[in-house]
Amino acid sequence: MSGKATLRNLAALVSGLVFGLGLSLAQMTNPDKVLNFLDLAGHWDPSLLLVLGGAVVLSTLGYFLTFKRGAPLWDSLFHMPQALAIDKPLLIGSALFGIGWGISGYCPGPAIASIGLGNPEALWVVPSIIAGAALQRWSHDRQTADID
């Protein structure tokens, strides 16, 4: 493994760590907190809106400045998703995900993160997410991935 590859692996680990700290601090690892945002007819908790808002505003600014550099620090190019089409798989997939998210309160990030809390729900939800994703990948003949 080259030196740059080691640095990239380290960067991924640290980035994941910061992501986990952010999700935890925002209590997005608590599915009730998420569902109380999604459920407009209950005791509404708008916290998720600020989580998403804070993340999007900061990353939009950071992405703009980073793209202006022309290349990342430890790689030769930006690995950007190639798909642009707003097609049926995007809409159907997002809708299926929405149904699942609205049921459990877990999107993939917080589901995996909840392993770190020793949350017994992770025992069921994480393997199910992996199985669902594997089923999709294997049943669709390795369609062109967004990300290489």
């Binding site: 990353s59 809708a95 991935a145």
Partner: protein
Amino acid sequence: MTEFTPLHALTGGLLIGSSAVLLLWLNGRIAGVTGMLTGLLVKPSATQLWRLLFLLGLIGGTALYGLFATTPLRQGFPIWLLIAAGLLTGYGTAQANGCTSGHGVCGLARISLRSLVATATFLGVAILSAYVVRHVLGLST
């Protein structure tokens, strides 16, 4: 019932944003959890190690936080609902090539119309889904 926690929510959101910027700035990569998972599923190899490390970091960061503060654990949520929801979430995010992190945070940050449509779709459907599960079927509190 959970209380609105604006300061924690905003600070947590800024940390998530920092994580996304860090990964783009250093590695030129999108911090999308679905991409991490499907990348590992489709072609597990040494070049994919960073994806595994990101996920391990995600778990580690959450465990680290757990040393200093407690997160309430939900009790009594039906296991069959967790499984059904997980399968739908896994299948759907793989089909859409992204979830809340990849489309919702990173996609919006790079001003992708595709990600905006995905985010509006899964957010809108999730709001409907939560309503049906809680108020029509009465399956969870």
